[in-house]
């Protein structure tokens, strides 16, 4: 009797303990997200956005339509393209370098802790500090551009953060075609696979083929049915000015992936390595065949965290290139400018929601995955 009572009391205390946090998070995270979504459907900021008595009207998806096809928002569309490249390079660069450093350090030679400390120190600094430093390193007439002169070559004149050049340009008008073409390509592999493996059910085969066919059809003929996104050509591509930002970000974060991988490698027990050696594996084979496949869950965590950091590049870009630099733009900076400089709160909220949706695409599956892991 007593112990049941005690248990109930405990639960009551437990609930009371977390209640303030739950309420705070409920309001400050979920409530605020709801509010921002609501704001993104209004016209707050057009006209009298700064008056003391703000009036807002519901305008539906107008802000989103503006962002994707309004002709003044070309910068936002370039920002989205930049985001793809920023994320790609940050992820690719840090994972590769991090793994490389981790393998180098895994051999536990002398001074390992010194090396580790040096590879990881940029993580302790803020993006503003490192951004300030890198800005100086990448100044057009000094820093990195002088390095070739050490080898007697003429100095480079690459405009790190202010170059207007871009490569891999595509026309925004036909973006949907590209998307469907990529979808078709992605679907092609499992479809072909499903025909070769007898196990797959007919149902699955059919649904895969149908979605492949539809994507292909859309990719080829969609533009004949629907008007293009924009009334005129608008080219977007990979801005070379973003390279400098990517280098700085990789410099700062590869120590982090190194630490993750190193912990993972150390977590593999010595016996695994021993048995691999007995099986005649050399070092290289050990890493490729045994260690790296075992690091998969760590790679997954790293991808999630880095993807989320790449969406937060705000600070680094702000310090390195300035908020106004359109070539290195990012939706997070655009959101700040739109909201706090141009007073267009509703449009700023829409950009925030788009950022949030991109982040949620990564995070929600991950949260569900770890949640299941905990409950199991």
């Amino acid at each position: 009797m007593n112990s049941i009572n005690e248990k109930q009391k405990n639960t009551l205390f437990a609930v009371l303990t977390v209640l303030p946090s739950v309420i705070l998070i409920g309001i400050f995270i979920y409530g605020f997200i709801g509010n921002t979504i609501y704001l993104s459907f209004t016209d707050w900021g057009e006209g009298a956005g700064l008056t003391e008595n703000v009036s807002k009207n519901f305008v539906g998806l107008k802000n989103y339509r503006e962002l994707f096809s309004g002709f003044i928002h070309g910068r936002f569309r370039q920002d989205l393209v930049n985001t793809v490249y920023y994320s790609f390079f940050l992820l690719g660069g840090t994972l590769l370098f991090g793994l490389f450093f981790a393998i180098l350090l895994d051999r536990s030679l002398k001074y390992e802790s010194v090396f580790r400390t040096i590879f990881l120190y940029p993580m302790a600094l803020s993006f503003i500090v490192t951004g300030t430093i890198w800005r100086w390193l990448l100044a057009p007439k000094g820093g990195f551009n002088l390095i070739p002169t050490i080898f007697g070559l003429p100095k480079s004149d690459f405009l790190w953060t202010s170059s207007r050049a871009s490569i891999l340009n595509f026309n925004w008008q036909i973006l949907p075609r590209y998307i469907f073409a990529i979808a078709a390509l992605v679907l092609l592999i499992p479809m072909v696979k499903s025909f070769y493996q007898r196990k797959t059910s007919l149902k699955k085969q059919i649904s895969l083929s149908v979605s492949f066919g539809v994507s292909l059809l859309f990719a080829l003929f969609l533009y004949k049915i629907f008007p293009p996104l924009l009334p005129y050509e608008e080219m977007h591509g990979f801005n070379l000015a973003t390279i400098g930002i990517c280098i700085a970000a990789i410099w700062q974060y590869s120590g982090y992936t190194m630490a993750l991988y190193l912990a993972g490698l150390r977590g593999l027990s010595e016996s695994i390595r021993e048995s691999a050696r007995l099986d005649g594996c050399n070092e290289l084979q050990y890493y490729i065949k045994i260690a790296i496949p075992n690091l998969k869950p760590i790679t997954l965590s790293a991808v999630i965290i880095l993807a989320h950091i790449s969406l937060k590049l705000f600070d680094l870009i702000f310090a390195m290139a300035g908020a106004d630099n359109a070539n290195t733009g990012h939706p997070s900076i655009n959101m700040y400018l739109t909201t706090f400089r141009a007073n267009n709160f509703a449009l700023g909220a829409s950009i925030a929601v788009i950022l949030f949706i991109i982040a949620a695409l990564f995070i929600i599956p991950y949260m569900i995955h770890t949640h299941k892991g905990r409950e199991a």
Binding site: G26, I27, Y30, G31, F32, I33, G34, N35, I37, Y38, W44, G47, A48, G49, L50, T51, E52, N53, V54, S55, K56, N57, F71, I72, G74, R75, A139, P140, K141, D157, L159, T161, S162, R164, Y232, G322, D324, N325, A326, N327, Y336, L337, F340, R341, A342, N343
Partner: protein, 443 residues
């Protein structure tokens, strides 16, 4: 089963939070049904003779080279009102872009500074006056006799039908082209007067490996554009652009963009990473021949670099704009909700006074907005500018907020970005037409 029920419960709780969150804040914000902007009556400032005390926070973007001028003005204020503690809140960043963002968050946050720097003209009117956040200063102007000492054109520009909104502290000229006479002699180039002459000289300079025109970060590109537009269009058509008489997709405007394209081809390629001072440095150091910049560049060259005006550097109206004075003015306004009204008033009085104005402007490198200022306190450059101000045709600047509201200025910067990438004059002109309509330039 039970577990599922729990999940559904939590999910619906979460949804409830989302919706409630959306609703409650939405409720709180849904005041005043779109009551039209002009409907609210403007409030006049209340004059008082109370001796000001307490603190006075002055918000501006005058830091670095421009700080000494502000400090001189503050010194005059402190001498006259020793009881007030002045807090000088500056936010750096050329032409005030960062400062304006910070100011907005503060005003929206219900925390206005006692007085803030703002470009006189549409920038103030289109933003803060339209939002009904400023007090009408007409009584102050009448009391201080400023109606007579400030030029009438200027008062018209800083006011609307409903009142006068700020006290101008200075006048700057935007359409000035700077050079080093000695270098031009060396390169065998004459100072160009028209755009054609300029382009010819530029070709010659480029052949000699000299950058013909130095340029800096984004806003200086807009600055160059307005001078080019004035040069191509002439004052009448330039003004017609702003009062809606000349359409932005007119062939004349397309012509402005194509000339601008040609001018840009003679600028340094690392412009975007330079500050305006660094662009001026390029001219001073002999790496570039000309620089089009407002006359704060004179202050920079004389005060910071210690150069002798008219000898170590020279100036002329930017190509094709002779006889025109494109002006911009900094001013201070009185935001509603100032926590120290007496001190705000005292500060505005100082800004408009002869003593304050003549302490500030010689250091800032600008001229006084007052017609009775003591020219002997000013340098060679300012004296010549003051003379031009009296005789030239006066037009307003775009890049510095005199002729267009902030919405247009913001969008114009975007169009400029587009143009810098595409270099397509017709497209830029069409884009400008669209943003002009969107921002109510054709009323």
């Amino acid at each position: 089963m039970k577990k599922n029920g729990l999940k559904i419960l939590t999910a619906s709780l979460m949804a409830l939070f989302l919706i409630l969150g959306g609703m409650t804040f939405a409720e709180g914000q849904k005041e005043a049904p779109a009551a039209g902007k002009a409907a609210a009556p403007s409030l006049e400032v209340e004059l008082t003779n109370e001796q000001p005390t307490g603190t006075l926070e002055i918000f501006s973007w005058w830091a670095g080279d421009e700080a000494p001028a502000l400090n001189a003005l503050i010194k005059v204020f402190e001498k006259n009102y020793p009881e007030v503690e002045v807090k000088n809140a500056t936010v750096t960043g050329g032409s005030g872009v960062n400062a304006k963002a910070v100011l907005k968050t503060r005003m929206l946050g219900g925390d206005p500074p006692e007085s803030f720097q703002v470009h006189a003209g549409q920038e103030l009117i289109g933003t803060w006056v339209a939002a009904n956040r400023m007090l009408d200063l007409t009584p102050l102007f009448e009391e201080q006799g400023w109606m007579d000492v400030f030029p009438e054109d200027l008062i018209n520009l800083i006011g609307t039908e409903n009142g006068i909104w700020s006290v101008p502290v200075n006048i700057h000229r935007s359409n000035v082209m700077w050079y080093v006479p000695e270098n031009l002699d060396k390169w065998g180039v004459e100072v160009p007067e028209t755009l054609d002459e300029f382009l010819e000289a530029a070709k010659k300079l480029e052949a000699k490996g000299v950058t013909p025109l130095s340029l800096a970060t984004t806003w200086t590109v807009n600055h160059l554009w307005e001078s080019t537009a004035l040069g191509v269009l002439g004052a009448d058509d330039y003004e017609a652009l702003w009062n809606g008489d000349l359409s932005w997709d007119d062939p004349k405007v397309v012509e402005v963009w194509s000339v601008f394209d040609e001018v840009l081809s003679y600028t340094n390629n690392d412009a975007a990473s330079l500050s305006w001072q660094q662009a001026t440095d390029l001219v001073v150091q002999g790496d570039a021949a000309f620089n089009v910049m407002g006359d704060w560049a004179a202050g920079y060259m004389m005060t910071t670099l210690g150069l002798e005006a008219d000898e170590e550097f020279g100036w002329t109206a930017s190509p094709g704009t002779n006889g025109n004075f494109m002006f911009l003015a900094d001013s201070f306004g009185y935001p509603k909700g100032s926590k120290n009204p007496a001190a705000t008033l005292a500060w505005l009085k100082t800004c408009g006074s002869k003593e304050g104005s003549d302490a500030f402007n010689p250091l800032k490198g600008s001229i006084s907005a007052r017609t009775d200022s003591d020219l002997s306190k000013y340098n060679t450059y300012a004296q010549s500018a003051a003379k031009d101000f009296q005789s030239d045709r006066i037009v307003g600047s775009l890049a510095h907020g005199v002729v267009a509201n902030e919405g247009f200025m913001n969008d114009f910067s975007t169009v400029m970005e587009m143009f810098l990438n595409s270099r397509n004059p017709q497209q830029a002109a069409n884009a400008c037409q669209a943003i002009a309509i969107q921002n109510g330039l054709y009323k």
